[in-house]
C-alpha cells in the first residue's frame, strides 16, 4: 500500500498549498488558486489560444469568409492551409470568423442556465416545501432527450440566436440546479446556519449571507462546464440543420460539409471546425474540473 500512502501524502500537500493560497494576495493568490493544477494549466492555455485566434485572427487572414478565395474543393495548400469548400471559400478564414457566433451562443446559454439553475437550486435546497416540486421538474428536464426537444422547438419557431440560447437554457439549467441543491442541502446542516437562525436572521438574509457565498463557487465551476456542453450542443443543432445557414459558424461549416463534400472525401472541410470545437470544449471542461477540484470542500479539508 505504498502508493496509497503516497497519494495521501500528495493530498496533504495539496491542502497545504490551498491553505497557503488563502494567505497569498495578487497574482500569487490567483496562480495557486486557479493555475496550480495541471488540468487548469492546459485548459487555460487552450482557451487563451482560441481567444487569440478570435481577436487577432481576422487581421491575419487574407480572405473574407464569404469571398471566393480560390479553386473550389481544394485540399490544403500554402495559400489555403485548411483547403477550400465547394464554392471556393477559404476554410481557415471561415473557422476564424465562425468562432464568434459559436462562442457567444455557448457563453450566453451557459450564463443563463447557470443563473437560473442556481436560483432554483438554492431555493429548492433551502425550503423543504419547495424541494420536492423543484427536484421533480429538474428530473423531468433531465429525462427528456435534449436533441429532439430542441429540434421540435427549432422547426416550430423561426430560428434566431435568441431562440437557440433560450432552448439551450431550457435543457441545461437542470444539472446545475441539481448540483447546487445537493450542496445547499449539506451546507444547511452546518451548525452556524442553526446559529444564524437562532440569532433571528431572516431566511433571505441567511440565504444571501450564509448559503450563497458557500455555494457560489460550485455555480462558477458549473458555468464553465456548461459552456463546454452548450458550445457542442449548439454546434450539433446547426450541424443537423437547425440553425441559420447564412451565418458562418462552426456548426454551419460542418452542415455544408456534410451536405456537399464530406462523403466524397473532402476531409479538410471538417478537420478545422471540428478541431476548434473540440479545443474549446476540452479547454472549458478542464478549467471546470479544476475549479470543482479546488473548491469542493470535501477535497479541500
Amino acid at each position: 500500500m505504498e502508493k496509497a500512502r503516497a497519494t495521501r501524502k500528495l493530498e496533504d500537500r495539496h491542502s497545504i498549498a490551498v491553505k497557503k493560497a488563502d494567505r497569498l494576495r495578487g497574482f500569487g493568490w490567483f496562480y495557486s488558486r486557479f493555475l496550480s493544477n495541471k488540468s487548469a494549466k492546459v485548459g487555460w492555455f487552450l482557451i487563451l489560444c482560441v481567444l487569440l485566434m478570435v481577436l487577432v485572427g481576422p487581421y491575419f487572414v487574407q480572405y473574407a469568409p464569404d469571398a471566393i478565395a480560390g479553386e473550389a474543393n481544394s485540399p490544403p495548400t500554402l495559400a489555403h492551409p485548411f483547403g477550400t469548400d465547394y464554392l471556393g471559400h477559404d476554410i481557415l478564414s471561415q473557422v476564424i470568423y465562425g468562432a464568434y457566433p459559436s462562442l457567444i451562443v455557448g457563453l450566453a446559454a451557459a450564463l443563463g442556465a447557470t443563473t437560473f439553475g442556481f436560483v432554483v437550486g438554492v431555493l429548492g435546497g433551502y425550503y423543504n416545501k419547495l424541494e420536492w416540486v423543484l427536484s421533480a421538474s429538474t428530473d423531468a428536464i433531465l429525462s427528456i432527450p435534449a436533441l429532439p426537444l430542441l429540434i421540435l422547438i427549432g422547426i416550430i419557431f423561426v430560428v434566431t440566436d435568441q431562440l437557440i440560447v433560450g432552448g439551450l437554457m431550457l435543457v441545461l439549467w437542470a444539472p446545475a440546479a441539481r448540483a447546487v441543491r445537493s450542496q445547499v442541502a449539506s451546507v444547511k446542516k452546518l451548525p452556524y446556519v442553526d446559529a444564524a437562525k437562532t440569532s433571528g436572521m431572516s431566511d433571505w438574509r441567511i440565504i444571501w449571507r450564509v448559503i450563497v457565498p458557500k455555494v457560489g463557487s460550485i455555480a462558477m465551476a458549473y458555468f464553465v462546464l456548461l459552456v463546454s456542453v452548450s458550445v457542442v450542443l449548439a454546434t450539433a443543432l446547426e450541424f443537423i440543420g437547425v440553425g441559420n445557414p447564412e451565418v458562418v459558424s462552426w456548426g454551419s461549416i460542418l452542415y455544408f460539409a456534410q451536405q456537399y463534400g464530406f462523403y466524397l472525401g473532402d476531409w479538410w472541410w471538417v478537420l478545422a471546425p471540428g478541431l476548434a470545437i473540440t479545443v474549446v470544449a476540452t479547454g472549458f471542461a478542464l478549467i471546470g474540473f479544476s475549479f470543482e477540484e479546488m473548491m469542493n470542500p470535501r477535497l479541500r479539508t
Binding site: 432527450p145 422547426i155 456534410q258 464530406f262 471540428g274 471542461a285
Partner: protein, 320 residues
C-alpha cells in the same frame, strides 16, 4: 418517501410533461400546420381548409386535445400521419426503424461499459500508474469531442480511405442467409464503436470518481490491514461498491445517450429513429418529430425505471 415510489411519481410527471409539451408547443407557433405546409406555394384557400379538416385543426382546442389523447392512448399509439412519407403513419415508420436503433444503442452500451469497467479495474489495481493518468486524459478528451465529428473521423478513415467498412446504411440489398447477418454486423461496426467510445469516456470518469471515494473508506482500510490481496480488495470491495453510482447515473444519462444516437445515425446514414428525425428536420415533418420526442422520452423513462429496479436489487439500503 420510499425511493422507488418517488421515482415512479417523478416518471409520471415526466410523462405528463412530454405529453402536454407535444400538444401545446406546436400550437404556440404562429399559424397552424396546414398554413405552414401551404406557405410559400400558391395553394388555394379551399385546399387549406380541406387540409385543416383532414388534420382536425378546425375543431376547438379541447376537442383537438381529447382526440390527441385518444390517439396516444390507443394501441398501437397513433401519432398521426407523416408529412414527409405521406401516407405512411408515424407509428409504422417507428415500427420499421426502432429495432435498428435498439441494436446500436444496446450493443454500444454493453461494449462501452465493459471497456470502462476493465479500465477502472486495472487503474484501481495499479493506483497512480501511467495507465490511470492516460485513461483519465483520454476520457476527458472523449467527453469534449462532438460525437458527430468523431463519427465523421472514423467514417473518413475506415470507410472512405481504407474502404474496410461500408459508407452508410444498415444492410446490403439482396444479401441472404449468413451473408445477411454478416452484412448487418459489418454495417453496425462503425456506429457502435463511435457510441461505445463516448459511453466509455463518461462511465470511466464516473467509475473512477467512485473508486477514488471507495478507496478512502474504512472498509478498504480494514481489508488492507487484514492483509487481503490487492486484487481481491479491488474487485470485491472497491469496484463492487462503485457499480451502484454507475447504474444510477447511467439511467440519467440515457437521455443524453439518445441525443448522441441521433447524431451518430445521421452521420452514418443508419436507418433508425435518429435518421428519421434528421430527415424530418429537412421536410418540416412535425408529426414525426412530435412522435419521436414522445417515444424517446418514454423509452428514457422506462430505461430509468429498470435502472432503479436493478439499483434497489443491488442495494437493499434504498428500500427503506
Amino acid at each position: 418517501m420510499n425511493f422507488i415510489k418517488r421515482r415512479i411519481i417523478n416518471s409520471i410527471i415526466v410523462f405528463l410533461a412530454v405529453l402536454n409539451l407535444d400538444f401545446f408547443l406546436p400550437r404556440l407557433a404562429p399559424g397552424n400546420a396546414a398554413e405552414i405546409l401551404a406557405a410559400g406555394s400558391k395553394v388555394p384557400a379551399t385546399a387549406i381548409l380541406l387540409l385543416e379538416q383532414r388534420f382536425g385543426l378546425n375543431k376547438p382546442l379541447y376537442v383537438q386535445y381529447a382526440l390527441y389523447l385518444k390517439g396516444i392512448f390507443s394501441w398501437p399509439p397513433d401519432f398521426g400521419i407523416s408529412y414527409g412519407y405521406y401516407p405512411d403513419t408515424v407509428t409504422h415508420l417507428f415500427e420499421v426503424r426502432v429495432g435498428w436503433s435498439m441494436l446500436l444503442l444496446l450493443s454500444s452500451l454493453a461494449l462501452g461499459i465493459a471497456l470502462a469497467y476493465v479500465a477502472a479495474a486495472s487503474s484501481t489495481l495499479r493506483r497512480g500508474g501511467k495507465l490511470e493518468a492516460l485513461a483519465m486524459d483520454v476520457s476527458v478528451l472523449i467527453n469534449s469531442t462532438p460525437i458527430f465529428w468523431s463519427a465523421m473521423g472514423l467514417l473518413w478513415i475506415f470507410a472512405i480511405t481504407l474502404n474496410i467498412f461500408p459508407l452508410y446504411g444498415n444492410v446490403d440489398l439482396g444479401a441472404t442467409g449468413i451473408g445477411y447477418v454478416e452484412s448487418i454486423l459489418v454495417h453496425a461496426v462503425l456506429p457502435v464503436v463511435t457510441l461505445a467510445v463516448s459511453i466509455f469516456g463518461e462511465s470511466y470518469l464516473l467509475l473512477r470518481g467512485s473508486t477514488q471515494e471507495a478507496l478512502k473508506s474504512d472498509y478498504v482500510l480494514a481489508a488492507e490491514s487484514r492483509g487481503l490481496y490487492n486484487r481481491m480488495i479491488a474487485t470485491r470491495y472497491v469496484l463492487r461498491n462503485s457499480l451502484l453510482p454507475l447504474v444510477s447515473v447511467m439511467s440519467f444519462s440515457l437521455a443524453s445517450l439518445v441525443s448522441r444516437l441521433i447524431l451518430v445515425e445521421a452521420v452514418f446514414g443508419y436507418p433508425g429513429i435518429g435518421d428519421l428525425i434528421i430527415d424530418a428536420v429537412k421536410l418540416h415533418d412535425y408529426p414525426v418529430i412530435e412522435g419521436s420526442l414522445f417515444f424517446l422520452t418514454v423509452f428514457v423513462i422506462v430505461g430509468g425505471l429498470i435502472g432503479d429496479y436493478v439499483l434497489v436489487r443491488m442495494d437493499p439500503r434504498l428500500k427503506s
